[in-house]
């Protein structure tokens, strides 16, 4: 077909433990904005990295203008006419815009040639730039403009944009859309990677929906609504529900009230007036697509960040928003952040030593500043036995454990002290199914014994399986809670995509 620019046929790419792309097949039409929509981990990034020469597919063919297309590096991809703008910018902060542009292009070019070309590009595509400004002085939107201009200098036929609006203000988003429209009018094609439903409908012509590495559907956006897209993106997830609400008491023991926090950093999401309540024995889920404020909220819940603008956190009738992590542990609050290596555990240290990262008043680990090694070792052995952690012993380095085993160990460490509340982020992220199952079971058991649990997760299956209530975080706003047993998947999908009727 003459109006197809790119044919993707049967692309398969697997990594240890996971197949990121399974026989991915679809066509991209020339002169259009083509969206790839999917949750985190759906395989979008893997696919575009293959197109851009950063990854090599295990199987499959790509045809560009009906000719075989195979590249081994981004430089080759650019030469063939594919350019990409990444979510995270790769600019030299201390250099000026002009210097960054000269450095970023593959061919040699004089400053005067560059300036002529730039003038042309700037006016044609609504991309004003101050050439002499240092990158540090630019806003996120302006930096993105530099990246786009840098790619346009090489005159690509296809421009890949990876989550381009995630760091932009609403005004910047609008001006980006003007640019994209101008590019398409000129005959270029844009591949637009996103999880935002609204954007797909407003600026994309065609949409390919991916889920767990597979293509679910490719169709014109004309006959789609946010609702239909959400359902396809998330799939049917309400299959097996076994939540039991019987043991939950009416008493609220953890309350977050109107927490707001500004970071002044384009890569962090400001938190806007977040409030929620957790009752004794309840598992409260916070859903959402990554980068919508989850890690920022987690830091505030754990006390790693106590610089909030306003709001309060109350636990057992105490105001704790100004307490650091240790003071919160003293009140029997325990937490497991998302990242195991280097956050909830230190990979270079032994399992025993890792116990000492999180101490509760009941633990007898230290006397007069001296570590009581026997007590720590006993505790570590207990965790290893009770949570069936596979390891040669408590002196093995944390880095030697598989992700699932280390996560079991960390969670075991946190729940062995029978906390009153456990705050956990992405409990089963990146681990195998067996460990996943045993972790979910221990969380449910813990709640039945009276511990309140807050689970932040992108994994909707997980939240629906174990929580009693779910609210959705989007762009730093937290939705009202929904009872998990009564929730509609469609509603959840809309909230995650930023649509709230």
């Amino acid at each position: 077909m003459s109006d197809t620019i790119l044919n993707i046929e049967n692309i398969t790419k697997s990594f240890p433990r996971v197949i990121a792309n399974k026989k991915v097949t679809f066509d991209i039409k020339k002169n259009a904005v083509h969206a790839i929509l999917g949750e985190n981990g759906a395989g979008k990034s893997t696919l575009v990295k293959i197109l851009y020469g950063l990854l090599e597919p295990d199987e499959g063919n790509i045809k560009l203008n009906n000719k075989d297309f195979k590249v081994n590096s981004p430089a080759e991809a650019r030469k063939q006419g594919i350019g990409m703008v990444f979510q995270h910018f790769s600019l030299f902060d201390s250099l000026s815009v002009k210097e960054n542009l000269i450095l970023g292009i593959d061919e040699k070019m004089s400053y005067s040639d560059l300036e002529n070309k730039l003038e042309n590009i700037s006016s044609r595509y609504n991309l004003p730039l101050d050439l002499d400004a240092p990158i540090t002085a630019l806003s996120a939107g302006e930096k993105q403009r530099v990246e786009i201009v840098r790619i346009l200098l090489q005159d690509p036929q296809i421009l890949i944009m990876d989550e381009p609006t995630s760091v932009l203000t609403p005004q910047e988003v609008e001006s980006l859309f003007v640019t994209l429209n101008a590019l398409v009018k000129e005959g270029r094609t844009i591949l637009y990677i996103t999880h935002k439903l609204e954007e797909v409908i407003s600026i994309c012509d065609t949409v390919t929906i991916m889920r767990s590495g597979e293509i679910i559907d490719t169709s014109s956006t004309a006959n789609q609504t946010a609702k239909t897209l959400a359902t396809k993106m998330l799939g049917q997830k309400l299959d097996d529900l076994k939540t039991n609400y019987g043991h939950i008491k009416d008493e609220v023991n953890f309350e977050v009230k109107n927490i707001s926090c500004n970071f002044n950093d384009p890569f962090l999401t400001d938190l806007k007036n977040i409030s929620f309540q957790v009752r004794v024995g309840e598992i409260y889920g916070i859903a959402g697509v990554a980068g919508n404020g989850q890690s920022e909220l987690m830091d505030i819940l754990t006390g790693e960040n106590i610089n909030i603008k306003s709001g309060s956190i109350t636990f057992d009738n105490k105001k704790i928003e100004k307490y650091g992590p240790q003071k919160r542990r003293d009140l029997s609050i325990s937490f497991v952040p998302e990242n195991r290596l280097g956050h909830s555990a230190v990979p270079e240290l032994s399992l025993s030593e890792n116990i000492l990262l999180s101490q509760f008043p009941k633990n007898n680990f230290i006397r007069n500043g001296i570590i009581l090694k026997n007590n720590v070792d006993d505790f570590a052995n207990n965790v290893i036995n009770e949570f069936k952690v596979i390891t040669p012993g408590n002196d093995a380095k944390a880095s030697s454990l598989s992700g699932g085993n280390l996560q079991k160990y960390v969670i075991g460490r946190e729940i062995s002290s029978k906390p009153k509340i456990l705050i956990i982020s992405h409990p089963t992220w990146g681990i195998d199914a067996g460990a996943e199952h045993s972790i979910r079971e221990s969380l449910i058991e813990l709640s039945q014994n009276g511990t309140s649990i807050i689970v932040i997760s992108q994994d909707l299956d997980e939240l629906i399986e174990i929580t009693h209530k779910i609210s959705v975080i989007y762009d730093g706003n937290l939705s009202k809670p929904f009872k998990t047993s009564e929730i509609e998947i469609e509603k959840l999908g809309l909230l995650m995509g930023g649509k709230n009727e």
Partner: protein, 357 residues
């Protein structure tokens, strides 16, 4: 075809055994490179290496001198370990040493005609305070204003050296010193006692061994040592654990400064006996090499300090018997560090030659 230049790829597992051998390999490579340099200079390499590394310690006096030089190196290096374990790059031990010598030496000058048992302990204490205070300046700058401690601590070295300069040509100049830039000599009780008659090795060695033992205990048995380690490996994990990182930075700098200050005081009240311009042949900088050569481990540091002290002695002998400039000692120190860093890189990374199309 393979590409001409290798690329550096991370190894999935670094070898624990190699970790132990790295210092030894670096020393062997240094000796080989050293012999090549000697050959190029026209010397018989065996004789030159003998003059450099064996003859300086073939007498009791020589061995005593080895300990005299190793004492400040080991003491400063163990102090630096507090910083380096915490991933703080304090390059300013030379300045902290100088400040320790000024504070402790100042007491010695003030009490130059007093003979009392409390004088030396007071001087040691003052030396520790002086070094610690000087070390706290970069700590404050780092924690309050987020400045880079490498730059500030280094610049403060020169400030301290100029202060010493000013004092010995100005207010503290010896009134009977024929205008030489030096202070009055300390009184006899302000001097480090000698351990053996006729040899210069002094009580500073005992202090150093004691502080190395204390540091070993702190590093391996206490929660403070654990906190230093965690915050060095992963600041995020330290924050998660609730360790106060500001306090850790302050302690690391203060302890390192105090140790360097004691080393400085031990120099001026030991072999020297007064204050003058050049109290340290760059011990504070060389101790950085000692700390890394000893892999920040107390036992390792003891051995490393002896090896590096030998390069100081060897350089003197080489100048005397071979007429080679004594700067060759610094070349050896530089070579050790060079090979050490190179070997360290290869423990964690490997070189591969990428296939070109």
């Amino acid at each position: 075809m393979n590409s001409l230049f290798p690329s550096i790829v991370s190894r999935s597992q670094s070898s624990g055994l190699m970790n132990f051998f790295v210092p030894i390999i670096s020393i062997v490579l240094t000796l080989i490179t050293g012999s090549i340099i000697f050959v190029l200079l026209g010397f018989d390499p065996i004789y030159a290496l003998y003059t450099f590394f064996i003859s300086p310690i073939s007498s009791t006096y020589g061995i005593s001198e080895l300990f005299v030089k190793a004492t400040p190196l080991a003491l400063i290096a163990i102090g630096l370990s507090y910083c380096f374990k915490n991933n703080i790059y304090n390059i300013g031990a030379e300045g902290q040493l100088t400040m320790g010598a000024i504070f402790g030496g100042g007491i010695g000058i003030f009490f130059h005609d007093t003979n009392a048992f409390w004088l030396l302990p007071l001087m040691i204490f003052a030396g520790a305070i002086g070094g610690a205070l000087w070390g706290l300046i970069p700590a404050i700058l780092k924690t309050k204003f987020n400045t880079n401690e490498i730059l500030t601590s280094l610049m403060l070295v020169y400030v301290a050296l100029f202060i010493l300069d000013y004092l010995v040509v100005g207010p503290w100049k010896d009134p009977f010193g024929y205008s030489f830039p030096k202070s009055r000599p300390f009184s006899e009780s302000g001097r480090m006692p000698l351990l053996f008659d006729g040899l210069r090795v002094h009580f500073g060695l005992i202090i150093t061994l004691f502080l190395i033992f204390v540091s070993w205990f702190i590093f391996s048995k206490t929660i403070f040592g654990f906190q230093l380690k965690v915050s060095g490996y992963s600041p995020k994990a330290a924050r998660y654990a609730g360790f106060n990182q500001t306090t850790l930075v302050f302690f690391a700098f203060a302890i390192c400064g105090a140790f360097a200050g004691i080393a400085g005081l031990a120099e001026v009240s030991g072999p020297i006996g007064l204050l003058y311009r050049d109290i340290s042949p760059n011990y504070g900088f060389t101790a950085i090499i000692v700390a890394f050569l000893g892999r920040l481990h107390p036992i390792g540091i003891i051995f490393a300090s002896l090896v590096i002290a030998l390069t100081y002695l060897g350089a003197e002998d080489a100048q005397l018997f071979l007429q080679i400039p004594s700067a060759v000692g610094f070349i050896f120190q530089g070579l050790v560090l060079f090979y050490l860093l190179g070997a360290e890189l290869l423990i964690n990374y490997k070189l591969t030659y990428k296939k070109l199309l």
